[in-house]
């Protein structure tokens, strides 16, 4: 059952094409200050990104950023956030995948962009979100024996003493 979207966003080319490609994967769309964000099913993220990258009318060939937001104490607690851009068409897109707090995991994009490697490692390090299929999912910034994930909202700013 495809999600109901605001009519002015449902008409956009990228939304139309994504709905044709995978109607059930698109969970919602919002726009704020002229920037559109699509909410997508975590299980389909890699498929969608591959489609967005290959499709000749969309051509999202630049992975600009991978990050996450902790919505604690709401559930689903995490959002994995992806920023894409097209080098030739010069348009941008934000994808957000809601993840549950008890076992946050999502597919890795390292097979599509080698640069996703460090970006995903940083998200794993600071949020504790696991990326399935990542070849080398180790901490990036914190020491390897660190306990906890500092950017989570239940982690105190001063750290644990």
């Amino acid at each position: 059952m495809p999600a109901a979207l605001p009519p002015e966003l449902a008409e956009r080319r990228v939304v139309r094409k994504l709905r044709e490609f995978a109607p059930e994967a698109l969970l919602g769309a919002t726009e704020f200050r002229g920037q559109m964000a699509l909410s997508v099913a975590p299980a389909r993220l890699r498929d969608l990104c591959e489609f967005l990258r290959r499709d000749p009318e969309l051509e999202f060939d630049q992975l600009v950023d991978v990050t996450a937001v902790d919505r604690y104490p709401l559930e689903p607690r995490f959002e994995a956030v992806y920023h894409l851009r097209s080098l030739r068409l010069q348009h941008r897109l934000r994808l957000k995948a809601p993840l549950r707090g008890d076992n946050p995991r999502i597919e890795s994009l390292t097979g599509l962009w080698a640069g996703a490697d460090v970006l995903e490692r940083e998200v794993y390090d600071l949020f504790g979100i696991r990326f399935d299929g990542h070849p080398n999912l180790r901490r990036l910034l914190m020491p390897d024996d660190w306990e906890g994930h500092p950017l989570r909202k239940d982690y105190p700013v001063e750290g644990y003493r």
């Binding site: 200050r33 630049q62 992975l63 080098l87 010069q90 934000r94 962009w113 990036l140 020491p143 390897d144």
Partner: protein, 398 residues
């Protein structure tokens, strides 16, 4: 603290060489684990995080305006670019537009920042390849740029000069002739550097054909900025997504098709000349008017007003004690920083502090590119390539 992880060797015939974290060629605290077959690198693994200071976490407990000094310390060679992207992101969140004079002064100062960054890049890269004197010349010119930053902000490096809605204050009057003098001097100095390097046989031997990459590599490794333009792609956010009135300036985006260390050098040299051109246009055509937006409750009122008007005093007190609260929402702003696309992703929950601030660091991705560029090269070339991609460890680790 546990021992850092060293990746297991590919075979028993190879040797693992640890470069850094304290090594002059790493420009800070970067650890490079090189696996060698004889003197040839067969695998390179950058290890980062030694300078992690939790700036993104710290930003979550500060008011929006209190975050600005933190941003300087991320990429400490281009502090005003950091100020700019953060202020643009907050302004976008608020739907606020700074006045034209502030936008032009921001352009002028961020272009000086670009020259500052590229001068340090050129000096240190040349130093590592063995051209000691270029380093001294570059730092001589950089000193004057830092003096100009000090004139307007009071700080040489950590300027924190931009504010949400404009600038901290109008630059002093002798700022303009001094910038004018600098812009007249710089092109001749760039010629001097090029005389020393561009056709120098040693320089050519050390850089040409070294560390080659293709457009496909750049896309795979999320590379932007001068490194991408050195592969022949004329991608520049100042042209493609103009911010801060860059659309009113006339400049060329330099590219080179080769994708090697020499191309990265030539692109940055030309960029500095273009930056002088942009800064000249900004200085000559600077619009009149205020340098702060008229937005009570967000932008601090003028000092004189506070002495005469009750409301101004109240707003000042409110902004300082309670901050200001943008509407709930999220924005991403990317600008063309000297190292590539610098992005700031802000999530607001409607409160006076950012719910989440994410810094998209071009330096981190430039470092990661080393694992692609170094294999197949000699150790001596590794030093040249590492220097040529341009990164700052403060931004890599944040």
């Amino acid at each position: 603290m546990a021992e850092p992880v060293t990746p297991p060797p590919v075979s028993a015939e190879t040797m693992v060489l640890n470069v850094g974290p304290q090594h002059p060629s790493t420009h800070g605290v970067l650890r490079l684990v090189l696996e060698l077959d004889g003197e040839t690198i067969i695998r390179a693994t950058p290890d980062v995080g030694f300078l992690h200071t939790g700036i993104e976490k710290n930003a979550e407990k500060l008011y929006y305006s209190q975050v600005i000094p933190l941003t300087d310390r991320i990429d400490y060679l281009a502090p005003l670019s950091n100020n700019l992207v953060y202020c643009l992101a907050v302004e976008k969140l608020l739907g606020l537009e700074p006045p034209p004079r502030a936008q032009w002064l921001r352009v002028l100062l961020t272009e000086l920042t670009r020259i500052n960054n590229h001068l340090v890049w050129l000096g240190t890269t040349a130093l590592e390849i063995g051209a000691m004197s270029v380093f001294l010349y570059c730092f001589r010119e950089r000193e004057e740029i830092l003096n100009i930053f000090e004139m307007c902000s009071g700080q040489r490096m950590m300027a924190s000069y931009f504010r949400v809605g404009g600038l901290a204050l109008e630059p002093p009057l002798d700022f303009y002739p001094r910038v004018d003098k600098l812009l007249k001097m710089l092109p001749g100095r760039f010629d001097e550097y090029e005389d020393l390097l561009t056709e120098n046989r040693i320089w050519l031997a050390r850089t040409r054909g070294v560390g080659k990459m293709t457009v496909q590599d750049a896309l795979d490794y999320c590379i932007t900025g001068p490194n991408l333009r050195a592969c022949g792609v004329p991608s520049d956010l100042r042209k493609e997504e103009p911010y801060s009135s860059y659309d009113q300036f006339d400049f060329v985006v330099p590219t080179r098709p080769e994708g090697d260390t020499y191309a990265r050098y030539l692109v940055r040299m030309e960029e500095m000349r273009q930056s002088v051109r942009i800064a000249r246009q900004a200085l000559d055509g600077l619009p009149e008017g205020p340098v702060r937006a008229d937005a009570p409750g967000i932008v601090l009122p003028e000092r004189e007003k506070m002495k005469a008007e009750m409301e101004a005093l109240i707003y000042h007190f409110k902004i300082v004690t309670d901050g200001f609260a943008p509407p709930p929402g999220e924005v991403y702003v990317g600008i063309e920083s000297p190292k590539g696309e610098l992005g700031c992703y802000l999530v607001s929950d409607g409160g006076p502090r950012p719910w989440r601030m994410r810094w998209r660091p071009p330096s981190l991705l430039n470092v990661q590119l080393l694992s692609r560029l170094l294999p197949g090269h000699l150790i001596a070339d590794a030093i040249a390539i590492t220097a040529s991609v341009d990164f700052v460890l403060g931004e890599v680790d944040r």
